[in-house]
């Protein structure tokens, strides 16, 4: 066997392990769906009215739910970072990563397993959220190619954030610490993006940040694809950010993995 097939085989073994965890203890998966559903209902039925009215022409005359759902989908992607950081940290602090490191297992296969498992989980949770969104009146106008592009961006963004949260999980001393680090990705950056209101409606300083942070092009390209609006370059900007975050997260995680637990 070549090094590459061994790496693929070991990563598949680790992926199988992580998926088995997920299916056996689905509570975490349910949590990753319930969180975004709560936000969805909150914004559609309670906050959505005044926000939608307030947006006026900035909302492009669409119902607020159509503006909102791409943002909720992005939050759903980000919600996967918590479990990933927690799971990686549990492996690290529980000693099983040290066991893997004393075996002739392809380096990093356990991390690849966690990352790919989270991408698969996220495709599932975003599909579930899309179903809920349709029930509450979301009316997308995406073509088949558009839907595929949406799935692609969701997967790419999830892949990038997964590597970053794997690094969080490796460097955090405790499970609680790993989870706290992921809260920036789960809440802070989504709220400071154009997920809920357009950047144009924000105060100047916040607006500058919103326009230049990675979550905004991701949600903008999802929104354009789902509403059938012209996508322009935002999708490329989003993918470039995904590539950059994935690379930084991967290199950070790899270094932390090699360093091990002191």
């Amino acid at each position: 066997m070549t090094a590459l097939t061994i790496a693929a085989q070991d990563s598949a073994t680790m992926l199988g392990r992580e998926l088995k965890h997920t299916l056996r203890y689905p509570l975490i998966l349910i949590g990753s769906v319930l969180g975004p559903v709560v936000f969805l209902l909150l914004f559609v039925y309670i906050l959505g009215g005044p926000i939608g009215d307030g947006l006026g022409s900035a909302g492009r005359g669409e119902p607020y739910v159509d503006f909102l759902i791409p943002g909720i989908l992005m939050m759903t992607v980000a919600a996967g970072t918590g479990p990933t950081a927690i799971n990686v940290n549990t492996d690290m602090t529980g000693g099983i990563i040290d066991r893997f490191r004393t075996m002739a297992v392809a380096r990093g296969a356990v991390l690849t397993g966690h990352v790919v498992a989270n991408v698969l989980r996220t495709l599932g949770t975003t599909a579930a959220i899309t179903g809920v969104a349709l029930l509450v009146g979301f009316r997308p106008h995406a073509s088949v190619a558009g839907w595929l592009a949406v799935a692609g961006i969701v997967a790419a963004f999830s892949f990038a954030l997964s590597w970053l949260s794997a690094a969080f999980g490796l460097v955090a001393k405790t499970v609680a610490g790993a989870n706290s680090a992921s809260l920036v990705l789960q809440f802070l950056l989504p709220f400071l993006s154009s997920a809920f209101v357009p950047a144009a409606s924000m105060p100047a300083g916040v607006r500058w940040f919103t326009e230049h942070q990675p979550f905004t092009p991701v949600v903008e390209s999802l929104r354009a694809l789902l509403t059938g609006a012209p996508v322009g370059n935002t999708a490329y900007t989003a993918l470039a950010w995904c590539a950059g975050i994935a690379l930084v997260g991967y290199l950070w995680a790899r270094a932390a993995f090699r360093r091990g637990t002191r």
Binding site: M1, I6, Q9, D10, T13, G16, R17, K20, H21, R24, Y25, G94, G95, I96, D98, R99, F100, R101, T102, M103, A104, V105, G260, R262
Partner: protein
Amino acid sequence: MGAMNAPTTQTTRTAVSVTGLRKAYGRAVVLDGVDLRIGEGEIRALLGPNGAGKTTTVRILSTLIPADAGTATVLGHDVRRDADAVRRLIGVTGQFSAVDNLLTGEENLLLMGRLLHLPAARRRARAGELLDQFDLAGAARQTPATYSGGMRRRLDIAMTLMGRPRLIFLDEPTTGLDPRSRHLMWQIVRDLAADGVTILLTTQYLEEADQLADSIAVLDHGRIVAEGTPEQLKRRIPGAHIRLRFADTASLAAAARTLPAGTRDDDGLALRVPHEGGVESLRHVLSRLGDGIVVEDLSIHTPDLDDVFFALTGHPSKENDR
């Protein structure tokens, strides 16, 4: 394992060879020039208190962390340059059981089998064998959350053995176990050794090293301060004595006059008489006392490894945490 096996002498092949191993974390020196040679098939105990550097030594030899200086080869492979070759030959069971808590006992073993790239049939056969051997067959389909401490440790060792390693590192394998589980673990170690597996065992229990090891290396503050068989180490301190206890001070005083080599312990109403071992020496002491002096109690004290540790390091083993 037939009669053809070479006798264990100087000619045994080297399983572990360590020279000048050093490791520091910042200004805290953990290993300060450790040299070690372990022959194949040997059980070697690395004995020392917490913070002596035992776990660090194991972590370096099992390729988990790099040393700052020195060389270490395991079964002929350099732990740094040829780490994967080392990993293929060793098994490690650490102080805290590294099992997957969300998988069942059997699934844990099968996971190891997959990572060792064993064919499916071999994986199942080996897992079943180990579950039986370690008395875990009944709990094979439960997760370790339902296991006792001893069961977790046994599962941990079973996972380590899935790939039939030739050298096993056991880092404090009985710390935190109840006496029954400890004795079970000792039997497991002896069985492994009987199969020809080389074992490096760390422990802070002197009795454990005495019970299991062919030879002991005493580690203190990152240095090996003594090495030898348990018997050799015990011989290094002259501590054997007979302790005689009396009913009153008058008897003690009379005995002390008769046996001037003894040391008086007035508070304990006892006399400590040097004892070279053997029945003759004992008979001699008793005949000197005669019928006139009534001895309430007699005990023979042979030095244990605690005494050795004190003699070698100048401090007791227990009050040595950093």
